[in-house]
């Protein structure tokens, strides 16, 4: 079972329309870039996450690796104080 945080990340990914093919088949640890997340889409995803979680990513997290998987995004969000709970 995916954590509530990861479920929310998934729904942001879905509504931001960052990936062309089926988000359903992508695991939490799967490489999003290999799944087609372009650098352009990475920036859109970053903005969508900031909006959804009402946060701002600090400069040190603005790199490709931060957005490389659902797990990595969850970890980054955890680092800036987003709690893993259902809303």
């Amino acid at each position: 079972m995916s954590s509530p945080l990861k479920v929310r990340i998934r729904s942001v990914l879905k509504s931001a329309g960052c990936l062309q093919n089926g988000l359903e088949v992508i695991g939490d640890d799967a490489d999003l870039h290999a799944a087609g997340l372009t650098s352009h889409a990475t920036v859109s995803l970053m903005l969508a996450l900031e909006e959804a979680f009402d946060i701002e990513f600090p400069d040190r997290l603005l790199r490709r690796r931060t957005f490389s998987s659902i797990d990595a995004i969850a970890e980054a969000l955890g680092e800036i104080g987003v709690r893993d709970e259902a809303t």
Binding site: Q20, H33, S39, H40, V43, P58, R63, R64
Partner: protein
């Protein structure tokens, strides 16, 4: 001066400069200069000591490009493109035995590397591929419609980008090192351009085969953002600076000659010369700043893939490619008709045509569009000396 720069100066002044006009007029490969660069072992300088090379740094390559740019821009561009490919292998080969052995050979035999990143159908968007690797029993094959491959037929190996598998999305790419024996070139387009004519950047249908071990073991996305992009923008900017310096040098010589014959009155071109020197200084400062930023980040994947770093390196390319055209244009105005003529020693016609390739070599509009996206994620830079 490093021994490499001294060697480059000798090759540039004695050989590349001598043939530069002929290379340009006939749009032919600068074979004499490239043979001399090989002789003096300048092709393998980036290869680390652990692989049998001298282990020069990117600053050494940047200086060589700047030097060569002052003598023959096509020679400088060929050298620059070769070193971009070498840097990608040096930085990302890891412990892959095939690639390590290849680097050894590069240093020993002074192999010349070419590149096929552009592809018909995706324009200059090198971060998308249509072609894909097809793997079978540890070997791959690949067909690519490459609209521009500089000096492909003169090269000893070529680095080709493609989708990882036929099922992969366009952005999931790898880059593979293919020695000449594994490549079949079918020439499709000639290279008859305004400038950079000696790069012989013809279009080809490439049919490529090899072992999977030839694939660089990290995604091309990382090779591109951490090495190919910053190194390209650094070496290109260095040689464009070389073109600009040489043009301005001609303008200075022209103004000096005027002063001598006009009994000391200040010559009409003097003010313009002083103005162009500001632009040249800015161009140089920007290059050095970005070179230092790259040197500080090298080895840290995190720093190299930071958005602010990517934007800075793109800005370098955008600014340098515009400055070179501006400075050479000023040099022409300073020399007047003597600069406009193609048969005078003050001619900057070749410089001007070569300079205009800078904005189309990965189109500036495309880079600005990329930066427009990245800019949304940038944070303010509050501290001056941070």
């Amino acid at each position: 001066m490093s021994p490499w720069l001294a060697a480059a100066r000798a090759v540039g002044a004695e050989i590349a400069a001598r043939h530069a006009d002929d290379v340009d007029v006939r749009a032919r490969f600068p074979g004499e200069a490239l043979a001399a660069l090989k002789d003096r072992k300048l092709l393998g300088i980036l290869v680390p000591e652990s692989a049998g090379g001298p282990g020069a740094g990117i600053a050494d390559v940047v200086s060589v490009c700047h030097e060569l740019g002052q003598h023959c821009a096509s020679t400088a561009m060929i050298y620059a493109m070769h070193q971009i490919q070498t840097a990608c292998i040096v930085q990302h080969a890891g412990q892959d035995p095939w690639l390590r052995t290849f680097l050894k050979r590069l240093a020993e035999d002074q192999l010349l590397l070419a590149s096929a990143t552009s592809e018909a159908g995706v324009g200059g968007d090198v971060r998308s591929s249509i072609c894909a690797l097809t793997e079978r029993r540890g070997r791959f094959s690949l067909v690519k419609q490459a609209p521009v491959i500089s000096y492909g037929e003169e090269s000893d190996a070529i680095l080709v980008t493609a989708r990882r598998t036929p099922q992969s999305p366009a952005s999931d790419q790898v880059i593979v090192v293919v020695p000449r024996a594994g490549v079949e070139f079918q020439p499709q387009e000639t290279w008859n351009t305004l400038g950079m004519r000696g790069t012989c950047s013809k279009g080809h249908r490439l049919t490529v085969e090899g072992e999977m071990a030839q694939v660089i073991p990290v995604p091309y996305a990382d090779v591109s953002s951490q090495t190919m992009l910053p190194v390209s923008h650094l070496v290109w900017s260095a040689l464009w600076l070389g073109i600009a310096s040489d043009a301005l040098g001609r303008a200075r010589a022209f103004v000096r000659a005027e002063v001598k014959t006009s009994s000391g009155e200040s010559p009409p071109g003097g003010g313009r010369l002083a103005g162009a020197a500001i632009e040249l200084q800015t161009m140089k400062s920007n290059l050095i700043t970005c070179l230092r930023a790259y040197e500080a980040a090298i080895g840290s994947a995190d720093r190299l893939s930071a958005i602010s770093f990517a934007v800075a390196m793109n800005n370098l390319k955008l600014a340098s490619s515009q400055s070179v055209v501006k400075i050479v244009g000023e040099a022409m105005l300073i020399c007047g008709l003597a600069g406009y003529r193609i048969d005078s020693r003050f001619s900057v016609g070749r410089h001007l045509r070569d300079a205009h390739s800078a904005a189309v070599m990965v189109n500036n509009d495309r880079i600005i569009a990329n930066n427009a996206t990245l800019a949304l994620a940038l944070r303010d830079d509050r501290e001056l000396l941070a």
